[in-house]
């Protein structure tokens, strides 16, 4: 009887451990989001415009490589998705959506890069809990918000605006959406701009 009780206890502990392990990355992500209040829609002054050259950048990426403007010039169009901060509600739902739009970026000869002003370890943990992303994610942490400042999208609290930039193969900015930080930008206008730029000879 004692052996049976021990066996039952072990079996129960095993079941409990298994139940905990079945929690998926996405479930954990949903439970670890830091809720933020409604913020002023924008809090910066844009320093670039459609038709102006994209400021140069060279940022560290999660995979240990560098993400550089120079690497896309003459080769690919480039979309930069700036998000304000890791582990916050709208940001955590934005990039997972881009996971199912990969074909559209590729069909339009366009590279997508995700950037935030968080440091690499934070971005590593956050994107892992998203379940992974197909596009590179780079950190504009140090000097803090260096690229965001050049673009004029660094907010007064040190986060970045929620912004999309489309840069053509000549390095010229072709589309800008500095979006209300509290809402996710509709992919439609960006995709239209990508198709238009891609259609040019």
């Amino acid at each position: 009887m004692r052996r049976f009780a021990m066996l039952a206890a072990l079996a129960a502990l095993l079941i409990a451990a298994t139940a905990g392990a079945t929690e998926t990355n996405s479930e954990s992500l949903a439970q670890n989001i830091f809720q933020v209040p409604h913020l002023p829609p924008t809090d910066s002054v844009l320093a670039v415009a459609v038709g102006s050259p994209m400021p140069d950048f060279d940022l560290p990426a999660l995979d240990g490589s560098r993400v550089r403007l120079a690497d896309t010039i003459g080769k690919k169009n480039l979309v930069i998705s700036f998000v304000p901060a890791a582990w916050t509600p709208v940001c955590s739902g934005q990039w997972p959506g881009y996971n199912i739009a990969r074909d559209i970026f590729e069909d339009n000869d366009t590279t997508l890069v995700g950037i935030s002003v968080d440091n690499l370890p934070t971005l590593f943990a956050w994107t892992r809990q998203m379940g992974g992303l197909w596009f590179p994610v780079a950190s504009d942490f140090w000097p803090h918000g260096g690229l965001a400042k050049k673009l004029g999208i660094l907010r007064s609290d040190g986060t970045a605006e929620r912004a999309l930039f489309l840069v053509d193969k000549k390095g010229m900015i072709r589309f800008i959406d500095v979006h209300d930080i509290n809402a996710r930008p509709d992919l439609g206008p960006l995709l239209e701009a990508m198709e238009k730029v891609h259609a040019e000879k």
Binding site: R2, Q35, G97, N99, I100, M130
Partner: protein
Amino acid sequence: MKRFLILVAALALVAAASTQALAVEASEAPGAKPLPVGTAFPDVPLIGPLQPALAASLGIAATGPTPINTVDAEVLVVEIFSMYCPFCQREAPTINELHTLIDKRGLSGRIKLIGIGAGNSDTEVEIFRKKYNVPFALFSDSAFAVHQRIGQVGTPFFYVLRKNAAKGYDIVLTHLGVIHSPADFLATITAKAGM
């Protein structure tokens, strides 16, 4: 010692059950207040272009907006989803299976299935539809206008509706989170709808 071990076993099983119960596979929506079962579902507009065959299957026009109450169904299953929701992405093939199962059981004339993309534009809904080859009608809700009227629920969320005598729809079942078994869910739908 024996009692202690039994106590450990019981506590561990309770812990396991709690973990499972807490792990709702859904994108949470702060402030969500699902509409209760037994109440009337609001006559929200269905927005977005539809393929003519899909529109015909629902008895509505191919160009919206169309009031949901005009959908011709005895039971209407409404999935609230988002292309940005990883759970909805993961679950999409299962909901396609549910659609197939409804058809195989000969219930497609009585039970209709639609999706509403909370916060999704027509373009975003189309990306989701193409990615997962969704065979049933999907509608957009880019400004969350419908979402606000139906309780700002997390995604995926299911409202199962039954046509009432006034030609509107009443809520007979609600479900937050991923559906694992289309057969079990269909059995629950038919039971709750009194079919």
